[in-house]
Symmetry: C2
Subunit: 302 residues, 2 copies
């Protein structure tokens, strides 16, 4: 297997995790959690989102979180931004990097941001331009890159079309999200096979959910195709809180085990990530069930 | 990716699953379960074990199970056999295929069968010879092919040595077990890379536990290396019953999803496997948590 020597793990728990939790976590608890994550060796933490507070009350205090955390040198603190108003709030809070987001499928884009794909581009273009003017790097999220809960399978060409538009706006990196966790390695191969015709592997990140247990298999195929940036959430946070064990984001600690055993460097401390996962588990008050957390429990750790 | 068109899924839930459950399941429930599994399209079901009943009381009634099940044409009903006395009982019960077992590591072999590896060979040799004389095919299990809970990492050469001895005895197929579920695809590549120097891919099966969430990634790497036989247990049965969510065998239904999405034929009905998993879940009285079962629950299925 041809594998990279080193990869970057981008922690999205405070945003993609907490936005899908039933519990609204207090600002002080979020700050404590982001501070704990900052001490694990992670170099990138997505701290929240500046969408309208009434849409996602769980993240309404992202500005306060960004202002109150202890900024660790070498760590990028990012946040999602839906439009220029959100960008203003993010810049005021001192965000390091902004992320714009849209879907590769019309159905999901319409339901998620209430706009068609064509209507979304000019909104994001304005955000990217102003973020760049403010000296910020910009990440672009594309959701439903393999399948859409409304439209079914999504073609790699459609994903490439959206990615091309985002890169043309000046986006620095695109994170490709298998939002419903339906993908398998052949899907990843087709998707990346198409995108790598036009873009470099270093411009792309993969964002897998472990809904069907295929996330690590998809990560391995992505590694083999040259991808070196992966999103994950400590504790596998972000599953549907109404169904026990329903997996959300691939768990950071499960990803770290895989990389460590494959001899791939991350710079992140697995034990500290498990501690951080236990911290947020206590805060949200529901059991998290990543594989590494279960092993830690079985070993009598907690 | 170079992938096989068709694979065989061998269901080990009634043996490797139930032997690790706290609950002792009544014979009638086991019979009903094996009968349900027989109607899913599976062609191979490991129905139990003829080890001494006091060692594994959960499987003490394997003879009765084999005698009472409805034998579906085209399905092979197998059972584990530790020695010639167990073989006699298995033959009397009308087993179709017998499985012998040992470990690739001394530590696990000693604790599991109370013999050194060298002491184990003559015992198995006798079983294989007599089983063959009785017209039965023989499967050989090798445990701890990647890592041993007592000895640590296990070298591919050591696994190949054991496999060579078993094949020399006349074993038809060897199932390579990552007993503690520690393996990652690079381990699988090293292991199979070594074994495929001497043996054909069609002589080998892979048996993964999903303890660390790497089972499907390991299956994909095995597929890419030509393996076409995989062991699994409906419901992911067989995890430590004392720890919620602690994964046992890779779940048959999760494996089936992977294969279906990758365009690989199995002949097994995913929906019926989920039904069978729900049946045994009710019987053992603890929640099973395969990914496909959770999705079914979330969809309001049960």
């Amino acid at each position: 297997m041809k594998l990279p020597e080193k990869v970057t793990v981008k922690e999205v728990g405070p945003r993609d995790g907490l936005q899908n939790e039933k519990a609204v976590v207090a600002t002080a608890e979020k700050v404590a959690w982001v501070n704990a994550l900052s001490d694990t060796g992670l170099t990138y933490i997505e701290a929240g989102s500046f969408v309208r507070p009434e849409w996602i009350p769980q993240l309404a205090d992202t500005g306060a979180v960004l202002e109150k955390i202890r900024r660790k040198p070498g760590v990028t603190y990012a946040a999602l931004v839906p439009n220029v108003r959100g960008l203003e709030r993010a810049l005021n809070a001192g965000v390091d990097e902004v992320s714009v987001f849209m879907s590769a499928s019309e159905g999901h884009n319409l339901r998620n941001i209430n706009k068609t794909i064509a209507e979304t581009y000019p909104v994001l273009e304005k955000v990217v331009k102003e973020a760049k003017n403010a000296g910020k790097s910009v990440r672009g999220y594309i959701s439903t890159v393999i399948a859409c809960p409304y439209d079914g399978p999504v073609s790699p060409k459609q994903v490439k079309e959206v990615a091309g538009r985002l890169f043309a706006m000046g986006v620095d990196e695109i994170s490709l999200g298998d939002t419903i966790g339906a993908g398998v390695p052949t899907d990843v191969e087709r998707l990346l096979g198409e995108l790598l015709k036009d873009f470099h592997a270093r411009q792309l990140a993969m964002h897998f959910h472990d809904t069907r247990g295929t996330a690590l298999a998809n990560v391995v195929k992505s590694l083999e195709m040259g991808i070196t940036v992966f999103d994950s959430a400590a504790g596998g946070l972000g599953g549907c809180p109404y169904a026990k064990g329903a997996a959300g984001n691939v768990a950071t600690e499960d990803l770290l085990y895989l990389f460590a055993q494959m001899g791939i460097e991350t710079g992140v401390d697995l034990g500290r990530i498990i501690q951080a996962a236990q911290q947020i588990e206590k805060t949200i008050g529901r059991p998290l069930a990543s594989h590494q957390m279960e092993i830690y429990r079985m070993a009598g750790g907690a």
